[in-house]
Every structure is written in C-alpha cells, then in structure tokens.
C-alpha cells in the first residue's frame, strides 16, 4: 500500500507497510537519521518529530497516521541550524553526547510555539517525555528560557 505525506516540506509517496512506525520509515526507508531510536516504547523521546505541528513519538506512530499530513524532523526544523533553539543549544553548550538532543529540540520547539514564554512548570511538564542520560536537563531549561526571554 502506498502512503503519501509531506516530510520537511517535500511531498513523498512511499510504498511501505502502513503499520511500520514512522521512526523506521524515516530512518530506514528515507535515510533521515537525525531522528533517533532510544526505546521504541514512547518512554524516552529520542524519536520525537512533529506531525501537523504536534509532538509525536515516531517509534509508536504507525506511518498510516501520517497519511496526507505533514511531518517535520530535526533535519527540517530549520534549513541551516538557525532556529533560535538550535543556536541557544550550541551557545550554551547543551549537548553532551548529543543523542537525545534532536528529540529535545523538537519538543522544545513545539512548546515555544504553544507557550512563547513558558513557566518552569510548563517546561518540566512538556519536556518530561524526553530523557537525557548525560544529564543536560538544567542547561536545556536555561536554553529554553534564554530563547523565550523568560529566564534569569
């Protein structure tokens, strides 16, 4: 069966099993490897992408749910790494190993769309699904606040 969807602004027609999770379509079929596999069970957020602007865990999202919709991945967050969050992440040295950071950025970007100046509680709540084993949480919080102008 074929699935049509828009990925990072580009129309794609795919011949894939509609039940295949979006994560594996992105990584194995389309070669968009910026989106990471961390748990496969909606527990870690490494696979976070936007579906119609909303945060989804692509590891548990069958690709059929993206039929006719638009998907944004880390590769499409900005054309050149210039999204204010990406810039703040680099300036403030947020990443350690970097593996979780695509997911963190996608969640943070969606958060700022909904709440341009999020409170601490809103940050903690919306970022709760994104694990970072390296422990970059404090810097993530600070970077989000810096971009939103809401921080110290």
């Amino acid at each position: 069966m074929s699935i049509s969807l828009r990925i990072n602004g580009e129309e794609r027609l795919l011949d894939v099993d509609p039940e295949m999770p979006l994560l594996w379509v992105l990584r194995d079929v389309l070669g968009l490897t910026g989106t990471k596999y961390g748990c496969g069970a909606a527990l870690c957020g490494a696979c976070t992408v936007h579906l119609e602007g909303q945060v989804v865990r692509s590891c548990v999202t069958p690709v059929r749910r993206a039929q006719g919709k638009s998907v944004t991945t880390i590769e499409g967050l900005s054309p050149d790494g210039s999204h204010p969050l990406q810039r703040a992440w680099v300036e403030q040295g947020v990443p350690q190993c970097g593996f979780c950071q695509a997911g963190q950025l996608m969640t943070a970007a969606a958060l700022l769309k909904e709440h341009p100046v999020p409170t601490d509680a809103q940050i903690d709540q919306s970022m709760a699904g994104n694990l970072c084993r390296c422990g970059t949480y404090c810097r993530i919080r600070d970077a989000i606040k810096k971009v939103s102008g809401g921080g110290r």
């Binding site: 496969g40 870690c44 880390i74 990406q86 040295g93 350690q96 593996f99």
Partner: protein, 760 residues
C-alpha cells in the same frame, strides 16, 4: 565526522618515540592505502600528500590547513573539543583552520581505550608535545629562511613571527620546509607556559554542537552501506544459556525478514564474545524486530540459571559478617574495637546497575575477501579490532574499526561484543549488516555493574573520637569477565577503600567471598559507586551518633592536610589508577579543601532552615577529589525532591573548564538516577528489567535539580579524571539529605525501594 581524511606522511619513519612519559606514541607507519568510502569519515591515511607530519596526530598542509587526529572516542565528555584544541593551542594554530579527524583503532596511537576518565589525565603532556614538536619545526624553518635565531621567533595565530623585525610567515608557507627538518628529540621539546594556552584558561566552544543540533552527527546506527541488511538477535536470557530447539517459520513469514541464523556460542570466560542465540536478518529494523518477536525458542539456562539477586544479597551479607582477606591494615582494629567505649555498625547494599546509554549498542560491518570493516560507537576501537579478529579468525591487520559518535557509553561501549556480533554476521551473510540492540536487549544483555554489600564498624573512645574502623566489602569482581569468577583481588579495593584518606589509628579493610553469576562490567565510576555510598553514609551516621556536625566529623576523620604514604595507608601497594603516588598522591589536604569549598558554597551552617535539608559526601576517585551537597525539600504533595546541588571538584589542572562543568552537572543526574531508581534485579539467572521503567528508570526533566552549582578548584597538580569522579558522592549526599529531612536512614539503593513511590 565527515569526509575522507588525508593525514599525509612522508616522515613517519623518522621518529620512533615521541613520548618521554608513560605513553608511547608510535611512529611506525603501516602503509595502508585503502581509500575507504567511510560514511563515518574516520581516518584513512594518504602517504603522498605534502606538508609537515611530525607524528601520527598532526599534519600541516601547504595551504595552512592543520589536521589533528582525535584518538579518543567522543561519548559526551567533549573530548573532541578538548584534546585537539590543546594540541592546536600548543602549536599556535587558529581553530578555524583546524580539522579534527577521528582515529580508527590503531596501535600507532597508543592507548585508545576511552574509559577510566583517562583522556586528559593520561595524555595531557604527551599530546601537548605533539603540538609543540610541530611548532618547533615550523619556527626552525622560518628562522632558517630569515637567517635569524629560532628563539627570536614565536608561533601564534597560525603564523610564525620574528619578534625583532615583525616579519611573518604562515604555517602553510612553512609546512614543506619544516617537514625537511629533523624531528626534535622528545627531551628537547619545550612546552609553552600554561598561561599561553587558551584551552586551559578560557571556556572553549563545543565544536560538534552544530552537528548535534541539526541531526548531522553520525552515530553508530546512522551508518549506511549499499546493500546493508539489519539484524536483531534473540540472545540467551541467562548468561551461558543455550538453544535447545527453535522454530523460525513464523519469523520467516514476517514480510521483510530474509533469514534466521544461529550465532556462535560463547565459552567461559566471557570476555567480549558474541552472546550466542538466533539472529533475525531483515530488510529494515522494524521487520527484524517483528521477526524476532515471532521466533519460538526453547532455552537451556545453564549453570547461571539459579541466580537470584535477592538470594545473593543474603549471601553477600553473610560474607561480610565474617573476617575476610585483609587488604589494608593500620594499627589493630580488632583490638581497638574490643576496647572501644562504643561501636557503631552499619551494612550497605548496592544492587547491579545498568549502563543505559541513550544510544543502544549497534555496529555496522562489511566483510570483503581481504578486509573486515566495522563502524561502531566504541570506546575502545583497538579492543574491538582484537575481538573481531579473534571471532573471525583473521590477523589484526585484516580488521579496521572506524569510530562514530557515541550516543553515551558509560563503560558499556568499552566492551566489543556488539562489534564482534556484527562482524560475525557480515561474514556469515556475505553482505554488509547493521546489528542493532533494542532497548530491551541493552538492559537484558548488559555487562552490569557489580552488586555489593559492605559492613562498616567503628569504635569510638569515650569522647566520641573514632579510634577504629573495620571496613568489610563483598562483591563479584570484574576480573570474572576475563578469568576466574571468584573473589576480588586486593587491588580491586583501590577504588575508594585502599586510598581512603582517613587518619583513624586502627583501620582494616577486608574482602569477602563473592562469585559472579552474570557478566560483570564497569559502569561510570565502577566500584567507587558503592564504596562512596558506604563511607559517605557511614560518616554521616557517625556524626548523628555523636550529635556532631557531619562536616566536622569528615574533617576529623580525614585528619590534618598531608600526603599519605603506602605505610600511612596500611597497604603494600596501590594501583592508584595506573599513576605513581609521587605524581598523584593520596592527599588529605585536597579532600579537606573540596569539603571546605562545598560547605561554604551551600551555606552549610544555615542548613535545616527554610525547609532546606542538606546532605554532604566527599570522595577521591580517578585521582580527583569531589565533595557534593544535596539540598532536599518536601513538596506540598509530600514528595521529596532534590532542589539544589553543589559540587566542588579538584581535578588538578583543568582543560576546557566548560566541558568539565558539564561533566559535573551530568554526574549529578547520573548519580541521582542510580541513587533514586537504579537497580537491576535477577530471577532465574535473567535480568528482569526491560526498558526505562522500574530499575531501568532514570531521572527526568522535572526531577532534575532546580540548580546545580559547580565549583572548580584552581590547581597546579597533574590532571586527574573528570568523567567519573563526580558520580560517587551524589548517592550518599542524597541519602544523607533524606536522613536530615526525615530521620529515615536508607542503607540500600535504590532509595525508592525503602521509601516508596509516594515519597520520591
């Protein structure tokens, strides 16, 4: 890590040994000329490119481009933003004109095993010498051209300048001439004064930051080869287990599944061998995972099938209830305990702990008639090369290991099992393969940190002073992975027991009997985790017994500032993380200093006020000294949360302070995860945890401290480790803060076990 590498070489054979210290930086050039189509862009050597090549780490091209090889793996510690920057600094290069290349596994680089917090502490001077050698050669070339004295010239900003006349020449313009000069003897290489090195004095940018935030950084699973298939393996749930029978028909019926093959069965000792089991080969990851789920396998558990962590806990407790092998002895602790006015005794238990790197183990391999190539997020590419060669039965030269970015590692990826599995499969299948661990695999087939029980007994005189300390510890040793699964050696106690800088006049440390029943590995800070937890908690208990301030008791136990000799410590030898005591003494003064600094930063004397309850602990590990204070508060809903954390670190000379701070911040979260939630339990020989839940749970954003304060001590001492030493004091500091807040003393990790979900 992008693009193919050119490390040019014309003069490799000229020098033979760069190092004057412990490290041998090999100079022999093995003339490999494969132009590797390497997706990871790791190193390929081109022996024909012109320019200056004083050693295998550095090349200056005639156009001025400086290429520096990073021979250590990048796993989040920021080593690629530190070591090459240090070399560039010594050289006097502009970072904008430096290209960093990730080294393949190759003995020419000396030790590449990126663990033991060793990258800076082990290579600091030798790698500075790499840059300084090239700098001297460029300066000599310029001086010869100008017919002036070399000592009138300086190298800075990618230029050599003749100070008296202000004449200048770029590094590129000098590279070819410099290459004709004799490589200076290591003894004659002069290092810059430290004040000239910006990597030591300023915050350095995170060089790989842009690659991380755009999804361009290539991790192990991101490597793509033409015709590559994906493999997921069903491994025996019990270490040493075997397949009795299997039926793969349902698995083969899953669309996309190509084949099911049997993996070689490992033999004791386990080392880094593949784990055995059945491999499902498929066109994509999802098909491989579904195929594996459809396998029907009957396993035989083998000799470890009875291992039960709860039962084993009782065995460890028994082991520390009787005298063990004495590993450290000062005075006569037994006699002093008998005559003490009072004794205090406590037993501490820390379970097996998982690594849980965010990126599960993965490797890509390709086998041709004369070469096996592996791309992997490995901490130790030379160990991977060796294990792959062993598994394939080919000579070492037939194996090349390219190092990708590591999505976290924490010791897990120092083991080469996943590389070996991929290579074995590439050979069996005749096509390139990606062997992917799922998260469940990562937990169930981990080389877990060992499990331990410690019993500490102190004797107090009538005034409350500690006159005796008996430290008993029992835990299966890492040595069991490579040989005999029995009791640890005295040297296993070097981590936090033999080097415990206490001035107690009667002190013994004893090792109890403990046999390994699973694969024991090393996890970030290793044995220090439970040694630090035990002693850090026990000092707090002693303070409570005496109704004294824990800080004062720490300082009293440590005694006056001094360097402890082997006889002061009461040990015959001290491995001291591979470093001589003269260079890295056990320094009571430095331990005191970090305690002093951290208690001032955290306003220790005001603890208990404003609902701010503080716990303190300190620990020496990997030749660095760390003290930490955790502030716990009770939320209105009754939950206990870590509010703020203060860390004081004395790691000697600090390279790239910004990344060092990041390591301390990360260590706090890592320490919190293992203190609050971490714990692998085993039933019928198998690990029970499956994913980021229960014992595999780790701290989330909302649980992270509101603020972590890091205080880096300025020091001229030789550099100590940074990646691991921040971890050990965190768990005891948390337990001590919990006690300060609730009066409940928790002697077993994870804390959630004693306290319940509603409390933490």
């Amino acid at each position: 890590m992008t693009g193919p590498l050119v490390i040019a070489r014309r003069s490799f054979l000229r020098g033979l040994n760069l190092a004057v210290g412990g490290l041998t930086l090999g100079f022999s050039f093995s003339a490999r000329a494969q132009k590797a189509p390497v997706p990871s862009g790791s190193q390929a050597l081109d022996a024909t490119a012109p320019g200056l090549n004083p050693n295998v780490f550095l090349h200056v091209a005639p156009d001025g481009l400086v290429t520096i090889v990073c021979h250590r793996s990048e796993m989040g510690q920021g080593i690629r933003s530190s070591l090459p920057v240090l070399i560039a600094d010594e050289l006097g290069a502009q970072m904008a004109r430096v290209k960093i290349r990730q080294a393949d596994g190759d003995v020419v680089y000396g030790d590449q095993n990126t663990d033991g917090s060793n990258s800076i502490r082990g290579f600091y001077e030798d790698l500075r010498r790499v840059g300084a050698t090239a700098r001297m050669m460029l300066i000599e070339a310029a001086a010869a051209r100008w017919k002036v004295r070399a000592d009138e010239c300086v190298a800075k900003d990618h230029l050599v300048t003749h100070r008296p006349t202000k004449r200048r020449l770029g590094f590129g313009a000098l590279a070819v001439e410099a290459a004709r000069r004799k490589i200076p003897e290591p003894k004659t290489v002069v290092l810059r004064p430290r004040s000239e090195l910006t990597s030591l004095t300023a915050n350095m940018p995170l060089l790989d930051g842009p690659a991380y935030v755009t999804g361009q950084a290539m991790f192990g699973a991101d490597v793509r080869l033409p015709g590559m298939l994906t493999v997921v393996i069903a491994r025996p749930p019990v270490v040493g287990g075997t397949i009795v029978r299997f039926d793969a028909a349902d698995a083969l019926a899953v669309p996309g599944v190509v084949k099911v093959v049997e993996m070689p069965q490992p033999k004791v000792p386990w080392h880094f061998q593949p784990w055995g089991g059945l491999a499902v080969v498929a066109e994509n990851t999802w098909a491989a995972m579904r195929g594996r789920a459809a396998l029907h396998i009957t396993w035989a558990a083998g000799p470890n099938g009875a291992y039960d962590s709860e039962v084993f806990k009782a065995a460890l407790s028994k082991a520390v209830s009787v005298p063990g092998l004495v590993a450290r002895k000062v005075g006569d602790a037994e006699a002093a305990l008998k005559s003490a006015a009072r004794t205090v005794e406590a037993e501490y238990h820390v379970p097996h702990l998982p690594h849980l790197p965010m990126e599960p183990p993965v490797a890509v391999a390709r086998m041709t008639s004369d070469l096996c190539e592996v791309w992997a997020p490995t901490q130790n590419p030379q160990a991977a090369q060796k294990e792959v060669a062993r598994a394939l039965g080919v000579p070492l030269e037939k194996v090349r290991v390219h190092v990708t970015f590591l999505g976290g590692a924490f010791g897990r990826k120092a083991k080469a099992d996943f590389c070996s599995e991929a290579a074995v499969l590439a050979k069996m299948l005749g096509v390139p393969v990606r062997m992917q661990f799922t998260r469940e695999d990562d937990l169930r087939h981990d080389y877990v940190n060992t499990v331990s029980t410690n019993r500490l007994t102190a004797g107090l005189d009538p005034s409350g002073r500690v006159v005796a300390l008996r430290y008993r510890t029992a835990f299966p040793s890492i040595q069991s992975l490579f040989g005999d699964p029995a009791t640890p050696e005295p040297e296993d106690l070097q981590q936090g027991v033999l080097d415990l800088a206490f001035a107690v006049p009667n002190l013994t440390a004893e090792i109890g009997v403990a046999t390994a029943h699973t694969r024991i590995g090393w996890l970030r800070s290793v044995y220090n985790i439970f040694q630090g937890f035990s002693i850090g908690s026990f000092v707090d208990e002693l303070a409570h017994e005496r109704k004294a301030d824990p800080r004062d008791v720490w300082l009293e136990l440590i005694g006056p500032p001094r360097k402890l000799s082997l006889s002061d410590l009461g040990v015959k030898e001290l491995k001291n993380y591979g470093q001589p005591l003269e260079l890295h003494p056990v320094d009571a003064g430095r331990l005191r200093n970090v305690i002093d600094r951290v208690t001032r930063a955290a306003r220790w004397d005001e603890r208990g006020r404003d609902g701010r309850f503080l716990g303190l602990a300190a620990h020496r590990s990997f030749l660095s000294y760390v003290a930490a204070i955790v502030s716990m508060i009770k939320r209105p809903d009754g939950k206990l949360v870590v509010d703020e954390v203060w860390v004081a670190l004395d790691a000697g000379i600090i390279v790239n302070a910004e990344r060092v701070r990041a390591q301390m911040e990360g260590s706090v979260i890592f320490g919190m995860s293992l203190a609050l939630y971490g714990g692998i339990t085993m039933k019928n020989g198998a690990i029970e945890q499956e994913n980021f839940r229960d014992g595999g749970r780790i701290v989330r954003m909302g649980e992270a401290p509101r603020k972590t304060w890091v205080d880096l001590m300025e020091s001229d001492a030789a550099p100590g480790g940074v990646g691991e030493p921040g971890v050990p004091p965190i768990a005891p500091a948390i337990a001590n803060a919990v006690f300060a807040l609730t009066g409940q003393r928790v002697r077993e990790l994870p804390l959630i076990k004693a306290m319940g979900r509603q409390r933490v």
